[in-house]
Amino acid sequence: MRVRWGSFWLAMAAFAAMGFLIAPLVMVVAISFTSSQLLRFPPEGFSLRWYYALIDNPQFIEAAWTSFQLAVACSIVATLIGTTAAIAIYRYRFFGRNAIYLLLLSPLMLPQLILAIALLIYLSRAGLPGSFLSLLIGHVLVTLPFVVRLVLVGLERIDPNIERAAAVAGATRFEVFFRVTIWLIFPGMFAGAAFAFIMSFDNIVVSLFFTTSRMVTLPVEIYEYLEYADDPLITAVSSVVILLIVAMLLVIEKTVGFTKSFTAVEHG
């Protein structure tokens, strides 16, 4: 009986924590349907006026498109670099291996603000001020650690005999990699790519330093809008973003199996 009550309270605590985390999102969506001018909860009445207002403010849609392109590019580049780096670190024993591994993971430990300032100075000297490319470099830098970690976990799970079996059967190292290894680490790569996409789409600290008047990401656009206006338009933007991300996750879940990729990475 004690055990049952224990799991009951555990479940209650879990639900409370989930409620606490989700409540702000629910509030944002609720306020977006308000008919009032004020960014205030609870919403008054019901209207779609802020969604119409959104259509009249194309800068948000443009920013969302920029953010989407950036997130896709970032997730592709980070996955390619992160996967090759993880394989090198896992497979080979070379001088400076540990140093490279720690350097790759260091963006996790350094404040993004410091990283962004350093990168701004560096890229300006290299002749790359605010641009899509400099945004991409910054985003890849902060998402790379996740890809490296997730692919490494995937590599550690592989039964080395599977690759040996392929080699004995006549596959060259190249064939072993493309016919076997890459499929075995695919869940880790996919989880890494998804992580990179979401973290890039969401990033503001690094983006703030590299956006220009013509190239603004959605989080920066929202942040700047909030500086001079406090109407519920922002909640409509947020609701659309929430809807798009949920839709994306559902599609991925149905096609590739998102939770499967993550649990495969975690449990082995």
Partner: protein, 359 residues
């Protein structure tokens, strides 16, 4: 024209740091032969197999397959097949694709791949399961897929690394007979690594008993069991009653062994012994008998007390204390005359049934 052995190991050595894992071993395996490397864990048997497969580079010595040195060749250029304890199937491929793998990387025409894969699956009695995912198969089926995958491209040698250790006891025994049949039919030379002496005896043409990186003895299952050449081999293969002593008298065919407490046992031997040589006497438990006083006395006979009795179904295991030590007897159920702990019995064995070993 000379015919070369299928596998030839010459002075093969592997060190890991200060540890000599494989210490200059030599072995020849004839074409079509099934040879087991048998020994406890850490004896170097798996290291030897990994060197033959090409996963480890030898520190010294040579590996020749059909007369060709392969020591410098990567695994994919040795035309060998391998079966692993962990099955090591490709989880992202169907049964068909798993078996077809070796043919695909050999760039064979589609029709030939199709035909060969179906033949190989039929050989391991998995025809009809080619569409399955490997996750849907039982352990025994997985190991058969892995066997088909290793044989489909007609390798020069088949390497097996404890392939049945993950299977449950009954299936393991059934797979032994099946493996021998498949290996005969495929006419492939096989090198089989195991720590299970019964498995090695069941399937092998010859057994290579290894210990601490060296070969202790090479011989047919009957040879290594009946005529072990060292205490290690006697002890590792099956049960053994071992008594330490010295040679008290010796002729060309017989030897008398005297123990420290003055007991004398007679044995037949083919080795020349001199008086005073330190030695061990070995008798298998199944060669010891309980004898009534009226029986014609076996060459070696003692009185003792029964300490324990256990019935294993096909045999009875009896521990008898005699001459200051415990003797283990394995008596078949059909010849069983009941004894109970505490009984006084006479036990004995015939001179040809025991072996004298170097100390």
């Amino acid at each position: 024209m000379t015919t070369h052995p299928a596998i030839e190991l010459a002075g093969l050595t592997k060190r890991f740091g200060d540890v000599v894992a494989v210490d200059s071993i030599g072995l020849e395996v004839g074409v079509g032969e099934l040879v087991s490397l048998l020994g406890p864990s850490g004896c170097g048997k798996t290291t030897t197999l990994n060197m033959v497969a090409g996963f480890l580079d030898p520190d010294a010595g040579d590996i020749r397959l059909h007369g060709q040195s392969v020591a410098d060749r990567p695994p994919h250029k040795r035309n060998s097949g391998m079966v692993f304890q962990s099955y090591a199937l490709f989880p992202h491929m169907s049964v068909f694709e798993n078996v077809a793998f070796g043919l695909r990387v050999r760039r064979l025409p589609k029709a030939e791949i199709e035909r060969s894969v179906h033949e190989a699956l039929a050989m391991v009695r998995l025809d009809g399961l080619h569409d399955r995912s490997t996750q849907q198969l039982s352990g025994g089926q997985r190991q058969r897929v892995s066997l088909a995958r290793a044989l489909v491209y007609q390798p020069d040698v088949l390497l097996l690394d404890e392939p049945f250790s993950n299977l449950d006891a009954k299936l393991r025994v059934a797979m032994r007979a099946e493996l021998v049949e498949i290996q005969r039919r495929a006419q492939v030379t096989a090198l089989f690594v195991t720590h299970d002496q019964e498995e090695a005896m069941h399937i092998s043409d010859r057994i290579v008993v290894m210990n601490a990186g060296r070969i202790e003895q090479i011989g047919s299952p009957t040879d290594v069991y009946r005529r072990p050449e060292s205490v290690f081999v006697a002890d590792f293969l099956g049960e053994a009653n071992l008594v330490e002593g010295r040679i008290a008298a010796a002729t060309a065919e017989t030897a008398t062994v005297e123990t420290a407490d003055g007991l004398q046992f007679r044995a037949e031997t083919t080795k020349p012994w001199s008086n005073g040589d330190a030695c061990w006497l070995m008798v298998r438990p199944e060669h010891l008998v309980v004898c009534a006083d009226t029986d014609p006395a076996p060459a070696n006979r003692m009185h003792g007390t029964v300490k324990s009795h256990a019935f294993l179904g096909s045999a009875h295991i009896v521990q008898v204390e005699a001459a200051g030590r415990d003797w283990s007897l394995k008596l078949s159920d059909s010849e069983w005359t009941p004894v109970a702990p505490g009984d006084d019995v006479a036990i004995g064995w015939n001179a040809p049934d025991c072996v004298v070993l170097n100390a």
